[in-house]
């Protein structure tokens, strides 16, 4: 028991460590919060795998931007990634509607090809030591505190990576709050939205743009595939706890704090990569939600289902 407590306190023993780890935790929290907020709408629209596709599809854009500007500065990389992500989405849409391919095949074909193109471009460039393919797979959230320090009016005020992610996180939150009504109606009832005169297609594109933005901002910290985990886990777990979308969205905040703190602890005690441990922490919290959640959990639901079934049988008779 004492060992366990020691293991828990280990990352927080000295002042330097606390500062260092707080930066990582804060970064992880912002990543999973912004991914989770976008993810709620993505999951509700049944486009969860599109998130996966877009997160793979941004790779050639990032690599091209890097090769052209020869730096990993945030502006060109974002533009390149957003262009590639949108290109990926557009070509999925085009293949789906204009060719005999079905949606799943169109998606699987496009994002794997984009990803392969990115990897090949990356490996053609000999000196691409900053861009490592493994970085795209795991992410390097542990290196957050190493990014250049910023000073505001002579005071130390966080570092570059944190500020970038903070801006993205804020943008996501503001867009979700401002466009909440539009996103809500178009997600659940497209025809109602159309009859209310909402630009359904443009809202869809806007959501895709937001998705691309969040994915690009997060890929450096958590990697291409774990972005998907950060996107799906919060809405799916909280959907077992709450019924209404605002509560599900609110629930993303405590969940993301839990993911980042628990992920860091797990990574410390087991020497795992932090990003993967964050996803594991998400799975750990998902299981009780799924089993015991008041809103459709497996164990709580089975009784209800039985009573509902028997009452249906009765009424049928």
């Amino acid at each position: 028991m004492l060992d366990f407590a020691e293991a828990l306190l280990d990352p927080w023993s000295t002042r330097e460590q606390v500062i260092w780890n707080l930066q990582i935790v804060f970064m992880g929290m912002m990543v999973s919060l912004s991914c989770g907020l976008v993810g709620c709408f993505v999951v509700v629209r049944r486009m969860a795998l599109l998130g996966d596709a877009v997160s793979h599809g941004v790779l050639p854009g990032i690599v091209t931007a890097y090769l052209i500007t020869d730096s990993l500065s945030i502006g060109p990389v974002w533009i390149g990634a957003c262009l590639a992500g949108l290109g990926c989405g557009a070509s999925i849409e085009w293949l789906r509607t204009k060719t005999p391919l079905r949606e799943d095949a169109a998606m699987g074909l496009t994002f794997t090809s984009f990803f392969a193109l990115g990897i090949v471009l990356l490996s053609l460039e000999a000196g691409a030591t900053h861009l490592d393919p493994a970085c795209f797979l795991y992410g390097e959230i542990g290196l957050t505190p190493l990014s250049p320090k910023l000073e505001l009016w002579g005071l130390p005020s966080g570092n570059q990576a944190l500020w970038n992610m903070g801006v993205v996180c804020l943008t996501t939150m503001i867009s979700v709050i401002v466009f909440y009504r539009f996103l809500l109606v178009t997600s659940f009832d497209c025809s109602l939205a159309r009859s209310l005169g909402m630009p359904v297609i443009w809202i869809q594109y806007g959501l895709m743009l937001l998705l691309a933005l969040v994915v690009v901002a997060s890929f450096e910290s958590v990697g291409v595939i774990l972005v998907l985990a950060m996107m799906i886990l919060p809405p799916v777990s909280s959907a077992f706890l709450f019924h209404r979308l605002p509560s599900i969205l609110m629930c993303c905040l405590p969940l993301s704090i839990f993911y980042s703190v628990a992920g860091l602890q797990l990574a410390y005690s087991m020497n795992f990569p932090i990003s993967a441990s964050m996803a594991l922490a998400g799975i750990v919290i998902f299981l009780p939600c799924c089993l015991l959640g008041p809103n459709g959990g497996v164990l709580t639901n089975s009784k209800k289902l039985k009573t509902r079934k028997s009452s249906r049988d009765l009424s049928a008779n």
């Binding site: 330097e16 460590q17 260092w20 999951v43 049944r46 969860a48 795998l49 998130g51 996966d52 060719t99 391919l101 079905r102 799943d104 095949a105 998606m107 699987g108 074909l109 794997t112 090809s113 990803f115 392969a116 193109l117 990897i119 090949v120 490996s123 053609l124 000999a126 490592d132 393919p133 493994a134 970085c135 797979l137 795991y138 390097e140 290196l143 595939i225 998907l228 985990a229 996107m231 799906i232 886990l233 809405p235 959907a239 077992f240 990574a267 087991m270 020497n271 795992f272 990569p273 993967a276 441990s277 996803a279 594991l280 998400g282 799975i283 998902f286 799924c290 459709g296 497996v298 639901n301």
Partner: protein
Amino acid sequence: MFLPIWKKLKYMLLILVLSKEASVLKAAQISSESDKDWINQAIRFWTFTDPSIQIIALGAILIGINCGLMGGYVVSRRLSMFGDTLSHAVLPGIAVGFMFSQSKNEAVLMIGATLSGFLGVGIISLLKRHTKMKEDSAMGLVLSGFYALGICLITYLQQSPNGGTSGLESYLFGSLVGLSDRDLVPLCFCLSLIIICFILLNKELLLSGFDPSFARSVGLPVDILQFCIWILMAFCIVSSLQVIGVVLVSALLIIPAATAGLLTYRMSQILVYSGILGALSGIVGCFLSFMGERLPAGPVIVLCSTLLFLAVLFFSPARGILPSWFRTRRRGQRIRFENTLKACYQVLESRSFSSQSFPQTALAQRRGKSDAEIEKEIGVLIREGYATRQEFPTEQKSELPSETMVSLTPSGWEIASRMIRNHRLWELYLTKEASYAPDHVHDDAEKIEHIIGEKTVRQIERILDNPQRDPHGKPIPSQDDIDRGWLSPPLVADK
């Protein structure tokens, strides 16, 4: 200030070391740096004299065939994203298999991978059946969750004192380096299993894939057949992992089969084509990866199959985008000038065929278009040799500009009167045989006149008993009139 922290943060160093080690690219290059003569390299590759090249090429071809054949069913059953999930879900199995065997023993790794793939599939179907989660979120959850677990386990293994674990990263992007003749055994086994299954269960798989409810009513065990497909898929993915890698193996399941689906609709042909396409992209990708200094094999093979897909999508003669675009364009042009010719006939008819030529302005009036547009249309007709044009001064002293007179050549006349004949016969046919109102038939005839061939027209003529006039009372030119040529006496005299 950083240094003490650095020491404590071992994992961070480990990530760095790992990412350096995992520069799969380095591991994946097969050609040596010193040997830069690429012609010699190419000859060395394509003559297959080097035993290591034989193994690599054979492995790439086998993987291509396996994945291509399997992909036919994956794509037709809409399991594409499922294949992606399965391929990510095998990762923890590989790590656990390694933990048990303490070496890179292929058999144990494959068993572990298959088991963990099945666990993933089972969890997806449990989540789908017993909770309100939709299929896509269940797949995304399993995909990312298993992947995260796999990454954690592999990292954990890397830190264990036991050496020789560095090969594990090659499972992420794949490499051709470590391929030995022992690795070909599972590939051959997988291929023969797929072929035997497909031959024995051909009818059953086809039926249960395309019409499951009918298959169930006939008494086929649909669920067991589906399970069969999953097992084959898992074998196929696991045996290809080492060369292609976890991240991209699903691409080889999807792309060749999707390409074959563009070429043909028959399942047996799709299987054959996608097997061939898979093998082709396997060998070409393998060659490029061999030639390039640091090209990883998996992505290159996938890119090759994508290029094949794009080539087929754009250039296949039957349904390719460019050929059919050209066909549509040509048909549009033909319809446009046939309409112009028809309008010429109508102008001539409205002047009761009094002369062979007519003013261009009359045509413009008839078609309701501007002079410039008509000028262009007539230009097309003249270029194709269907019409001629002369300038006629209407009155010597008038200040009006001279008028352009157009006349049809015999071939133009033939097409024009044929169009009129098709049009009016079809109108008559609709009113007589299909009881359309006479004022409803024009639009239909306007479209069909360009399409129906000589044979159909003759048939309609026979059914209607060689009619003379259409529902609006206009004369229908007969085949004789057309054969006799330009303004033959009966047509002028009679009508």
